[in-house]
């Protein structure tokens, strides 16, 4: 899977916001924001194919979490991103 093309992550203040500047016209009535952990994972795979395992490994490397927690967190993030069409297979 990979992140949908054309998306950029912008840090504005304390927020990480997803924008799609390639379109020329953007609907800003709902903006997608990521927390710091999700933003870290996002930036790590920008422009690349990746797997859930890849993200789990990144979490385990960077944060002191148990593997089951990393797995559950990654699953939750993927569900949300897929629902919003931000990830393509």
């Amino acid at each position: 899977m990979r992140l949908k093309d054309g998306l950029t992550l912008r840090k504005i203040g304390k927020e990480f916001v997803i924008v799609q500047p390639d379109l020329g016209m953007q609907d800003m009535t709902k903006v997608f924001t990521l927390n710091e952990v999700s933003a870290y994972l996002w930036e790590a795979v920008q422009g690349k194919d990746f797997t859930a395992q890849h993200w789990e490994d990144l979490l385990l490397e960077r944060y002191a979490v148990e593997p089951e927690v990393a797995k559950a967190d990654v699953e939750a993030i993927l569900v949300t991103l897929r629902e919003q069409g931000l990830i393509v297979d």
Binding site: I12, V17, L23, M25, M28, T29
Partner: protein
């Protein structure tokens, strides 16, 4: 994905950044200062355009004091522009052209973006010029 309210300053910093990149953006109307023409929840498309192409009667997104306002341009002098909310009887915002971020180009309707017709500008201005009678009617009917 849960709905969160993004910090206003952060949101408009992003809006300004994207406008500078030449993006046309759809933003929600907040508040009722532009009634009867625009109301809370309406959506409009905005774009950064040259100051010369902004006409009296256009609705503009501007930085004013420590806020961002979306109000109608009612007077245009060289370095001082006056803005007013259509529903505001007293307040006038004085801004410089540099404080103007964007112009409202279209309204988002169910069927998609619809460019604002000339009458939106004309009728809106007429509404502004009728402020004195509107103030009187407001006082009488209270």
């Amino acid at each position: 994905m849960e709905k969160r309210i993004v910090n206003n300053a952060a949101y408009f910093a992003l809006i300004e950044e994207q406008l500078l990149l030449g993006q046309q953006l759809c933003i929600p109307i907040r508040g009722n200062s532009m009634l009867p023409f625009l109301k809370e929840g309406d959506k409009v498309w905005i774009k950064q355009v040259a100051p010369d192409s902004m006409k009296v009667g256009d609705v503009l997104l501007c930085c004013w004091k420590d806020q961002v306002v979306l109000h109608r341009l009612v007077k245009k002098k060289k370095e001082e522009w006056l803005l007013a909310g259509d529903n505001n009887l007293g307040q006038l915002e004085r801004v410089t052209p540099q404080q103007v971020l964007a112009k409202v180009m279209a309204r988002e309707m169910e069927e998609g973006a619809q460019e604002l017709p000339v009458r939106f500008r004309v009728v809106g201005l007429l509404w502004y010029y009728l402020r004195i009678p509107r103030i009187l009617i407001n006082k009488i009917t209270r």
